[in-house]
């Protein structure tokens, strides 16, 4: 059991990193949203597996929240926003796809080195989990930094949060309250960002954040 549970957890967490990488090379918004839904789905599986392994029924609640909100509600809502606003469906990147992928690999290597060094005397499962979670967080940030489109920044932010949830569930004994509050804050953030998107769109007829910058009268 121990060997198998370890392997499955490892597999799911690893897939989450892999899906994060997939986000990096998407240049269409719909595709990016689909990948994000996949990301949330993998997270759900991972959390559910942790719930089963740790025999912590409250983690099923977390998994449920991830499935309902992140894999279904948010991607659907973003879809609708894109349709409603008639957003240009190509993503402008700042750095090319190739260098971005290389950077992402560097980040994963960095998070492995850091986590394996720092948590030498922790449970090996938690160690791997934390290293993967940090990679996911960093990759989410990378998505936010290298894209000009506001929707893709939202997606980057959400996948960053997925990394946090992965880390939280990997550690045994994380209280449910913390997870729920994290999930709730993400929901609020999503609403706020959504409203912002509408407002930006209303004013500038675009959600390209360059328009905002031009409005503020700044150089790029």
């Amino acid at each position: 059991m121990g060997e198998l549970s370890y392997d499955v957890a490892h597999l799911l967490a690893g897939s989450l990193v892999l899906v994060s990488f997939m986000q990096l090379y998407q240049d269409r918004l719909y595709a990016l949203l689909n990948i994000f839904a996949l990301h949330a789905l993998v997270l759900t599986l991972s959390v559910a597996w942790q719930a089963y392994v740790q025999e912590a029924p409250h983690l099923y609640v977390t998994a449920g929240i991830a499935l309902v909100f992140k894999a279904i509600v948010i991607p659907v809502a973003l879809h609708r926003i894109i349709v409603k606003l008639g957003i240009h469906r190509e993503i402008e990147t700042v750095v090319g796809v190739g260098p971005t992928m290389l950077l992402g690999m560097g980040l994963v290597a960095l998070s492995m080195v850091v986590m394996l060094r720092v948590t030498t005397d922790a449970d090996p499962l938690a160690r791997q989990d934390l290293a993967f979670a940090l990679s996911v967080v960093l990759l989410g940030l990378l998505v936010m930094v290298t894209r000009r489109n506001a929707v893709s920044q939202v997606v980057g932010f959400m996948s960053l949060e997925n990394g946090l949830v992965l880390a939280a569930t990997g550690a045994k004994g994380m209280p449910l309250v913390v997870e729920i509050s994290v999930a709730f804050s993400i929901l609020i953030a999503f609403i706020v960002i959504g409203i912002f998107l509408f407002r930006i769109r209303e004013r500038f007829d675009s959600v390209d954040i360059q328009t905002l910058d031009r409005f503020r009268g700044e150089r790029r």
Binding site: V113, L138, I209, D213, E218
Partner: protein, 669 residues
């Protein structure tokens, strides 16, 4: 006992909302100052009972406030009791004074809410027994006093004074924070009891001394950290000026004594050299600055700097003797320093009250616009004269006793084994003597120009005597100056438990000495009897007056004063403050202040007046502070660009900072 004191502080904090509600009502002033007066007197009684009482053990209280794993520790030992007494004596006097003086306040809503908070802050600093409560109370004191400095914020330069005060206060608190961090060590023992149990190693203790000097010195006004003091103290309303100058600087001194004598372990031999040198320089620089001032309140503020220097000289000597295993001499020096703490708080409060009364009566702080007030405000003039004589260290008043004791300690210095100290201490003694003499000159100027002669402006000519409550506060303090001057043995004996706890010895018991003399070391060496001097002065003065009035004519005759044969009756031909200070400015000012005098003569045939312009430069500001200020300004201008990045650039900044920190973590050995 400490519980009672804490209740007192709580009452003071509790009247802050009352003061806020009643800020515009006419009853606000008597209620706030009245309650402050009562609470201060109660706290003074508690402090005196603790100090004079026989109970050796300190009373301790731990409240479940502040950091959850630490709590808030409070302790009332002999040292805290002494400073609690000093603080609350000053607070009580200021509250009494403000009952009358506050009537003239234009914006009571800007003063009343912060006043009790300020008192509570000072009381809590003295009571605190862990680093966290100490720093919180310290900041509370700083911020509420800052609000009081800014009470008249529309007066020109007050806003700048408040800003500089705030910057220096934050800097000082940072230094104190680091001090306590070092004292607590890696174990994180933040209570004073833990710090006392584990004294720091020699290297750490050196850093503690330097940081404590910076942290408490910036509040007390040690040169070169004094720059805010002469700006901020005069800017506040006068009773607050008295508190800041007379009392808050003493709270800073308390911080220094607590850290260096109590928490930092055994002193190294060189500590005293740093403290002595700083004290000597502070004393002389303070009085030289004061001599150049014509603003009465600013002059008094610079004298605070001078007296802080004298106090630190006493502490420096105590450190020197303690480090070389001479506890009796250390006890003498420390007693001298602590006694000067008390004395200075009394006469500096008195003098600031007097300056406040003059400011109220005339609306003027500039001495060049005053004069002749002794006829219009005779009682204020009398108590101000007592204060001037006390701060000039004239017997039989209290200032003489503490400075004399400091000199007695200096005279013991040849017994020190260290050659550096053998040379330094006499030099510091010379600085102390110089500063005492210059202080006397400065107060001859302050009293003479303000109260004597003829009024220089209509405002001074129309002055009225101040109200009875303000006078009562000043009378009480003047009486204390005299009592402490003629019965110093009483005060020395009551300081014994404080000194005993800090240097492990005490001065000889003065209680049984005949004729109420004080004998600091041994009868054969030196002794002083203030009562005898006082009686002699009273009798000889009375006899002289009797002789003059009985044997010569006692008719009152008014005649025009001799004016070098020049018949112009204009009061401007009198000695002015700057003309009085000119000789001293020529001797010291050319070097210390780069003083330049320029005479502009009109061309022949032109009847325009000639002009004498004096230029002074504050070298400490120019050398130390101006470069820092311009450097910070330049850096801020550079960093200004960071405010105008795009969202993505901000995110990239956060991202690269995170990656950088992770890299550091990965590469760190």
């Amino acid at each position: 006992m400490v519980h009672l004191a804490l209740i007192g502080a709580a009452v003071l904090i509790a009247i802050v909302p009352v003061a806020m509600l009643m800020r515009t009502s006419s009853h606000g002033r008597p209620i706030v100052y009245g309650i402050s007066l009562i609470v201060s007197l109660a706290l003074l009684a508690i402090a005196l009972l603790t100090l004079l009482g026989s109970s050796e053990a300190a009373s301790v209280a731990v409240l479940p406030l502040g950091l959850p794993w630490l709590g808030a520790h409070f302790r009332l030992d002999a040292l805290a009791a002494f400073f609690l007494a000093v603080v609350n004596l000053g607070c009580a006097a200021a509250s009494l004074f403000a009952l009358g003086y506050g009537r003239h306040e234009h914006d009571p809503q800007r003063v009343l809410p912060f006043y009790p908070a300020f008192l509570a802050g000072m009381t809590l600093v003295v009571l605190a027994a862990d680093a966290f409560s100490f720093l919180v109370a310290w900041e509370f004191m700083s911020l509420s006093s800052w609000a009081l400095v800014m009470a008249h914020h529309r007066v020109s330069d007050n806003a700048r004074a408040g800003y500089i005060y705030l910057v220096m206060a934050s800097f000082g608190t940072l230094a104190l924070l680091l001090t306590f961090g070092l004292l607590a060590g890696p174990g994180g023992g933040y209570t004073f009891a833990d710090m006392r149990a584990v004294p720091p190693s020699a290297g750490l203790a050196a850093a503690v001394l330097i940081l404590a000097l910076i942290g408490t010195g910036s509040k007390a006004g040690l040169v070169p950290l004094h720059v805010w003091l002469p700006l901020a103290h005069p800017a506040a309303p006068s009773h607050v000026s008295a508190l800041m100058s007379g009392v808050m600087t003493k709270v800073a001194v308390y911080g220094f004594v607590r850290i260096v004598f109590d928490l930092a372990g055994e002193p190294a031999w060189w500590w005293s050299m740093v403290v002595l040198a700083l004290g000597g320089i502070t004393a002389v620089m303070g009085v030289l600055y004061a001599l150049m001032q014509h603003d009465l309140k600013r002059l008094l503020a610079y004298h605070t700097v001078e007296n802080i220097g004298i106090i630190f000289i006493g502490f420096g000597l105590a450190l020197a003797f303690k480090a070389h295993g001479m506890p009796l001499a250390a006890a003498l020096a420390l007693t001298a320093g602590l006694l000067h703490v008390f004395n200075h708080s009394v006469f500096k409060s008195l003098l600031f009250f007097g300056a406040g009364a003059v400011l109220n009566a005339t609306g003027e702080r500039d001495m060049e616009h005053l004069g002749g007030l002794i006829h219009r405000m005779p009682q204020t003039a009398f108590v101000f004269l007592v204060g001037c004589a006390a701060i000039s260290a004239l017997p039989p008043l209290n200032g003489f006793v503490s400075e004399w004791l400091t000199f007695q300690a200096i005279l013991l210095s040849p017994a020190l084994p260290s050659w550096g100290l053998k040379f330094l201490v006499p030099a510091v003694g010379a600085l102390l003597a110089l500063s005492a003499a210059l202080a006397a000159a400065c107060f001859v100027k302050a009293f003479g120009v303000t109260f004597l002669g003829r009024p220089r402006t209509p405002a001074a000519a129309g002055a009225q005597e101040t109200d009875a409550l303000s006078l009562a506060a000043m009378m009480v303090l003047a009486a204390l100056c005299l009592i402490a001057g003629i019965l110093p043995g009483l005060f020395i004996d009551s300081l014994a438990p404080v000194v005993q706890a800090l240097v492990g010895a005490r001065m000889p018991v003065q209680h049984g000495v005949e004729w109420l003399s004080i004998v600091p070391v041994a009868e054969s060496r030196s002794s002083y009897n203030g009562l005898l001097v006082f009686v002699f002065m009273v009798i000889s003065g009375w006899l002289a007056a009797l002789a003059i009035h009985r044997l010569a004519s006692d008719r009152l005759r008014r005649a025009p004063p001799w004016d070098c044969g020049y018949p112009d009756p204009s009061p401007i031909t009198q000695y002015s403050a700057s003309s009085f200070a000119q000789p001293i400015r020529r001797v010291f000012g050319t070097m210390v202040f780069r003083a330049r005098e320029r005479v502009e003569m009109p061309p022949p045939g032109d009847s325009a007046p000639a002009r004498l312009t004096v230029e002074l430069r504050d070298l400490i500001w120019d050398v130390l502070y101006a470069p820092i200020a311009s450097g910070v300004g330049a850096a801020a201008t550079r960093l200004n660009a960071l405010q105008f990045l795009t969202i993505r650039q901000f995110l990239s900044l956060v991202f690269s900072a995170l990656v950088f920190l992770l890299l550091v973590l990965a590469i760190w050995p």
